[in-house]
């Protein structure tokens, strides 16, 4: 599988994690993407929540395989904890969403799977609503 030039990754995408296929979204962040050859770089747009996401993928047709780093918001449960893992996402045939799974260790050092989706939100983020901060459990 080759040929990654036909898709346009510009603009703003909404990144959402779920613990399970039908689970409640854990976090949502707006991100931008940059494609250089077969490399795809994803970085979150700074927001009030203070969380940060960075991912690098290699594209093979519609398959994106790579790794991510994420730093939680200082306001949520995990308080700025830095996590990282590996992920594979498949680009929808219309190029408007990347959907797949990530694997990453948690606080107990066991590797868990998350469902991860990146959905194209628009050309810029000025009209978009700030992602909701997840409520902190006491």
């Amino acid at each position: 599988m080759t040929g990654t030039g036909e898709y346009d990754f510009s603009g703003v995408w909404l990144s959402t994690y779920h613990k399970t296929q039908n689970g409640v979204p854990e976090t949502d962040q707006y991100v931008t993407m940059q494609q250089i050859g077969d490399q795809l770089i994803v970085e979150s747009i700074p927001s009030q929540t203070g969380s940060y996401l960075f991912a690098r993928f290699t594209l093979d047709g519609r398959i994106a395989t790579g790794s991510y780093h994420s730093q939680n918001s200082p306001h949520n449960n995990a308080k700025e904890a830095m996590y990282y893992g590996a992920a594979q996402l498949v680009l929808d045939p219309d190029g408007k969403a990347l959907r797949g799974k990530g694997v990453g260790f948690g606080k107990d050092l066991s590797v868990k799977t998350t469902v991860w989706e990146l959905i194209r939100a628009g050309q810029d983020h000025h009209h978009l609503v700030e992602p909701k901060e997840k409520e902190t459990k006491k």
């Binding site: 519609r62 395989t65 893992g85 996402l89 694997v103 260790f105 590797v111 868990k112 799977t113």
Partner: protein
């Protein structure tokens, strides 16, 4: 989290991963004997040709007991997947004694759905004699 790398992990390991098969409706396990070669904070896992029909290669980076990277498998030409090549991402947690690694993989299937499963590695010894001994029931 980075610590000075020790040249451990290199040697012969047994690999065992689970995978779902939608065409055969169930979860299956694949076992392979593999060779691990570590250089600094990176290591490569490669199947041993003499004792494997499929070809498997993983490239991982290790950071304080957490190994993150990618895998590729060229399935057996005579097996159910008829030589198809699959690739994906993986994260493993390495036990303190460096004799066991376990974690999860993610990877697309024939329908371009990203699936996940457990992947475990168990250290057998320094050289190929451990496989020959096993083959001869010693």
């Amino acid at each position: 989290m980075a610590k000075p790398a020790k040249d451990t992990l290199s040697g012969i390991w047994k690999s065992r991963y689970e995978y779902p098969s939608s065409s055969r409706n169930g979860v299956f396990y694949a076992e392979n004997y593999v060779k691990v070669v570590r250089v600094g904070n990176a290591f490569v896992v490669e199947s041993i040709p003499e004792v494997n029909d499929s070809y498997l290669i993983l490239r991982l980076t290790i950071d304080d007991g957490v190994a993150t990277g990618s895998w590729q498998e060229c399935t057996s030409p005579t097996g159910h997947y008829k030589g198809a090549i699959y690739h994906g991402a993986i994260q493993l947690v390495v036990d303190e004694d460096q004799k066991h690694m376990s974690g999860r993989w993610v990877g697309f299937n024939r329908r371009k759905e990203v699936k996940t499963g457990v992947w475990e590695f168990t250290y057998l010894g320094d050289d190929m004699s451990v496989i020959h001994d096993r083959a001869h029931g010693q």
